[in-house]
Structures are given as C-alpha cells and as structure tokens.
C-alpha cells in the first residue's frame, strides 16, 4: 500500500533536482528579450520574416509566435504584424517549406490572402504552394462558400485520390451536394467498405456507419444462389443506373 508520506518524500527528491531559487526564463526565449520588446513576440516575428536567417531558426521563431497566440486578447497588439509576416512569407519567400507553413497558418486564421493563394494554386499548378489535396482541405476549413464549387470541380476532374477525398469531405457538409455524393459512390471504381443492413424485413447494402435505407444504400431486391439484384435507394442514382443484376456464371 502506497504510503503518502513516502510518496511525498520521493517526489520532493525529484523536485529538489529541478528547483530554482527564482523563476527561470526559458532559455529559448532569452535571446529575444530586449527593452523595446518586453514580450519577445515582435523579435520572433521579425526573425521569422527575415530571409537571411536559417530556415530552422525561422521555423522555431514561427512556432514561438504561434504559441504566443494562446495569449488570446494579449496577442491582439501583434496580430496584424503576425498576419503581415505570414502573408509576406507565403507570397514570396524563397523557401518552399516556409511558404507552405505560412500559408497553412494563414488558412487556419481564414485569411483572405490565403484563400486567394490557394485558389491560384488550384487553378494553376505552377503557382501551387501546397499540394492540391491540402489546398482543398484548407479551403474547406476557411469558407464553404468558396470551397464547394472548387470541390465539385476536383471531384469531377482528373485529380489524385487524396485530393478527391478532401473534396468529397467538403461536399459532404453541403446539403446541395447530396446527389453528387451519391453519384460518386455509384461511380467509384475503388473498393469501399460496405455492410449488409436490415430494417422492416428489407435488406440493404451500403456504408456501415449509416442506417439501413440511407440514400447511399442499395436495396437487395432479390437474392438467389445465382442472382443478386439491387436497386439504388437514391432515386436520381437509380434513374441513372437502373436495376443492377449480378449473375454467377457456371464455370465450364
């Protein structure tokens, strides 16, 4: 049985190795303290923005500033400066990693310049700062009004699967895109996880996480040893594909 007194003594010994006579300044921050920058943030933003500094140092400074955003209102006086630095780096920095990181951080803030840069990159891959999938994802976080038309274009185009997945996720939260999604499920050549579901004596096959009879299901209208007949629940998809009949052929 743990004795609380012994536990305390052991913990005191552990703390004794770390205790300090006075509050210590985290070593990483020490270099940023100067009389004109009491909280170190302005210096960190300047360092992040400075193309003459090593990339690692600039990324570390960026992280320090991002940590500082947890000050909430206390960060407000730095917000415009931070935003401008992120924009400047995202638009024109010579380092691709820094540009991408800056753009990601800007997009988290739902920044209009980030939105413009993302759309530019989607329209012209030569100008893309982040991969298409990431661009669609970030736009989806930003503003659905902008993201949905982009997502529909990506889904209907020749984009890679990652980009299409991100686009489908954007569309999934758009009530107007339900038919598009049903069509995607019907059209896709990739295997997807399906489950057999029952309700009121009827059988369905479809995504496992949705109730039986959901729009993305197919109803099993007939099942014999040699024939399997389904019909899409969604009327628009059913009109397009009709009744689907799978027949097992006897091997010769």
């Amino acid at each position: 049985m743990t004795n609380v007194d012994d536990y305390r003594k052991a913990f005191a010994a552990e703390l004794g190795r770390e205790s300090t006579a006075s509050p210590a300044v985290p070593p990483r921050a020490a270099a940023s303290m100067n009389p004109g920058d009491a909280d170190g943030i302005s210096s960190a933003i300047t360092l992040f923005r400075d193309p003459a500094q090593p990339v690692d140092a600039r990324l570390a400074a960026l992280e320090q500033v991002q940590m500082a955003t947890f000050m909430g209102p206390g960060f407000d006086k730095h917000r415009a400066n931070y935003r401008d630095a992120l924009r400047a780096v995202a638009i024109a920095d010579g380092d691709a990693q820094l540009r991408a990181t800056a753009l990601e951080y800007l997009a988290l803030q739902k920044d209009e310049v980030a939105r413009r840069l993302l759309l530019q990159g989607i329209d012209n891959s030569q100008q893309a700062i982040v991969p298409l999938a990431k661009a669609v994802q970030l736009l989806g976080h930003d503003d659905h009004g902008v993201a949905v038309p982009v997502a529909r274009k990506v889904v209907g185009g020749a984009a890679d699967l990652d980009a299409k997945e991100e686009a489908v996720r954007v569309l999934a939260s758009d009530p107007q895109s339900r038919n598009v999604l049903s069509g995607i499920l019907a059209d896709q050549a990739q295997p997807s996880e399906l489950a057999i579901k029952r309700i009121d004596g009827r059988n369905f096959v479809g995504p496992p996480n949705e109730p039986a009879g959901s729009p993305r299901d197919r109803e099993i209208t007939s099942f014999t040893p040699n024939l399997f007949v389904t019909k899409w629940v969604d009327p628009s998809v059913a009109n397009r594909y009709g009744v689907m009949v799978f027949a097992r052929c006897v091997t010769a």
């Binding site: 536990y7 921050a29 940590m67």
Partner: protein
C-alpha cells in the same frame, strides 16, 4: 441478520463511485438482536478486487484496507469513511466490493460493488477503458449534433479572454474539463477523462485505435468502427492534426513535470503567471502552449480551433493534473493563501479574480463578457454538491476538499489525497 451500508458517493442509479477523497458512510444492522446486542464486524475489500478501498473512522489520508466496527443491535448507524486506495484504481464498475463481515461467524453481511474511478494516464489505459471513453465521447459529439458543439463554442476567438492570458487560466480550464467529464459520465458513469502526459512518449495514444494517426494530408485516420470516424464539428467530418514528433518520443522543448512544478518554488504568481509572450510566463506558456504547437499543424495549434480536436481535452487534462500535483505538493488549496492563487490588488479582468463567477456557466453576457453563454450551467453530479451550477474561481482550488467541504468528484491517478499539516511556506 444483514448490514445496510449507505455511502455518500452514490449515483442516481444506486452505483457507488469513489476517488482518493474520503467520503462519509454509515453502516447499521438490519434485523439485529436489539439493544445491548452489538455485533462486531470488519469492513474489507472482496477477494480478487482490482480497485482497492481504505477505511477510517475519521476523515484522513491514513485509511486502512480493513476496519473493525461495533454495530449496535438496535440498528443505530455507525459512521465511517471510505476512499479508493491511492494507486489502486478500478478498471470497471464492480471490480471492487465493500464487504461487511461478521467477526464471529465470518458471514458476509453486506457486499456493495463500487468503482474507484480516477483520471488516468492515457498511455496506460486498458483497451476496454480506452474504448469506453471513446464511445462516450463519440456519443457526446453525435456526428456534430450532440452537446459537444456547446463545449466547442466555449473556446473560440471571441471568448479567449475568459480563459487565457490571465490568472484564471487554470481554474477556468478545470471547470471546463469537469463540465465535459460530467457530460461523458451521464452517458457512461464509468468514464473518467484521461490525460496526455506530454513530457513522456505516448505510443499507445497515437494509434488508429485511440487518438488516430494522420495521413499525408494531416487527416487523422482511425480503425474502422472507431467512434471518432464520424467526428464532426462545424459541419465538417474528420480531424486535422499533423504528427510532427515521432510517436515513440515526446514533443521536444517542453518542460518536464518536475521542471513545471519546480518553476516558481511553490508560488502561484510564478507557477501560474499569465503568459507574457515568449519572454516569461508559467505553465500557460510552457508546457501548455508548447504542447499545443508541438504537432506542427492542425486545429490544435490555434486557440480558436483547438477544441475541435478531442486531443485538446487530453492535453488540458494533463495541464490540470500538473496544477493538481503542484497544489498537493506545495499544499496550495486555500483560497486565502496568496501563494495558492493571485490575490494581489488591484483586481484583474472579471472572471479571473478569486471571488468571480466564471463564464459561460454564470450565464452573463455582454461587454466585457462574450455575447452568448453556450452550454448553460455547469453539469451537476449526484456524487457531490460541488461546485454548483455557477462556479467561482475559488471553487476550483480545493478540488479534493482537503480543507473540508465537498469535493469536485475527480482525482488523478498519481496525485494523492492528503490533509495538509503545516503548509509549506
């Protein structure tokens, strides 16, 4: 002849949940032989118990695994205290039973199943505990339609002044976690919020079975059927979180637990100093801020979006645990102790002074408070009356009631209950 045991920490459904904090109980004979025929009994843990109990006749931290009582034959109740034995929590409800045994016949006169339920290191959870927590949290999210949306709305851009960059950072988040945990317990009473101990590697936490692993696009992946597969916030399904540090390591640059607790030598005005940029600051800066940004990208690195990721709550549970451990070690539970909380004049922003009620649970809206107060009052618990529907900052300090009164109903696996002797000065 039987014994009736009444325990203060009993849920609405009659089940008993304990922490390390002693709660009051009574035992009395049923169908005894009348006045003058007292029966000697022993309270003990049932054989094979996972959780363990300790007993005492007074409220103390010196409980023992057995306790002998003399129960009057006329059925008069005898008071005693019960608690979970420190570092012996349950895995499930009923894995420990309080047995009352007749000392003369060895007959078991009463057997009461219960659970020693405490907040644990997520890295150490059993698969059952993990899944129980995830399931409850998934239900609370309700694919975006559940009450989780209100918790999300409590921590957005326009509300950060209530919870950050001021002295009330720790008490506000303690109340936030408690409110969420009680909601989870209304779904499954066996659940306690786990914590991400971010100063140690946590490979069990960053798996598809638990908090997920991101793909190349930072979209967190889960095993099929995982309750978070349909996690939805603000109409968007899925979680965005990069994993910049290898799961076999801990995030670099964060203070260890010992460094965090040693900072400021037991003085809250250093330990809990509001974050002042990169130049100074206590726990809010490092390790809290650093833990958030350690992932590299994702909702969790930005204050307005961070609670969209359920990982936020495990991160903050560890921040709260660090405060709890600091409070225990330095004996800083009193709301009149200037070393336990910032008590200096002049008053600071409303919501952060020791006697202030806290938004949103106080329902106060309008400048300087946010324009809405989502979520209503703080969730009640059948196990304790504290902290009440509209907690004050001071309500959050003595969460174990080491100084008396009602406890808040939670404990941490590695922070004991200890009634302070002379305080450390």
């Amino acid at each position: 002849m039987n014994v009736e045991v009444s325990i203060a920490s009993t849920n609405d459904d009659g089940r008993v949940f304990l922490t390390w904090t002693p709660v009051q109980c009574t035992a009395r004979l049923i169908d005894g032989s009348g006045v003058g025929s007292a029966v000697s009994v022993t309270l003990r843990n049932s054989a094979g118990s996972v959780g363990q109990l300790v007993f005492d006749t007074v409220r103390s931290h010196h409980g023992t695994p057995t306790l002998q009582l003399s129960l009057p034959g006329d059925g008069s109740p005898v008071r005693f205290w019960i608690a979970g034995q420190f570092q012996k929590p349950s895995l499930d409800f009923g894995d420990v039973k309080l047995e009352v045994v007749d000392d003369s016949s060895a007959a078991v006169l009463s057997s009461t199943p219960m659970m020693v339920r405490v907040r644990k290191n997520a890295q150490t959870l059993s698969a059952t505990e993990r899944d129980r927590f995830l399931n409850a949290f998934g239900i609370l999210n309700g694919q975006g339609a559940g009450r989780f949306s209100e918790f999300r709305d409590m921590h957005v851009s326009s509300t950060l002044g209530e919870s950050h960059n001021n002295w009330g950072f720790l008490p506000w988040h303690r109340s936030y976690l408690l409110d969420l945990e009680r909601e989870l317990q209304s779904i499954d009473a066996r659940v306690a919020l786990p914590y991400w101990r971010f100063d140690q590697p946590a490979p069990q936490l960053f798996t598809r079975d638990f908090m997920g692993i991101p793909n190349a696009n930072d979209r967190v992946q889960f095993t099929p059927g995982h309750p978070f597969q349909q996690w939805t916030t603000e109409g968007q399904t899925g979680i965005i979180r990069r994993q910049r540090f290898p799961v076999s390591t801990r995030p670099p640059g964060l203070k260890t637990e010992s460094q965090t607790l040693a900072f400021g030598n037991g003085v809250f005005d250093a330990f809990g100093e509001p974050f002042v940029g990169t130049a100074a600051g206590g726990i809010e800066l490092n390790p809290h801020g650093g833990a958030h940004t350690s992932f590299g990208f994702g909702w969790i690195i930005s204050p307005p979006s961070a609670p969209r990721d359920p990982m936020f709550f495990l991160l903050h549970c560890n921040v709260d645990r660090l405060w709890a451990k600091w409070q225990w070690f330095f004996k800083r539970s009193s709301d009149t102790d200037p070393n336990a909380y910032h008590l200096r004049q002049p008053p600071v922003r409303v919501g952060h002074n020791i006697g202030d009620t806290m938004w949103p649970w106080n329902g106060v809206t309008g400048n300087p408070r946010p324009s809405t107060a989502p979520g209503g009052t703080l969730a009640a618990s059948a196990l304790t009356s504290a902290p009440g529907p509209s907690p004050r900052v001071r309500s959050m300090l003595d969460y174990q009631a080491v100084l008396g009164g009602a406890h808040l109903g939670f404990d941490y696996d590695d922070v004991p209950f200890e009634i302070p002797q002379p305080a450390i000065t």
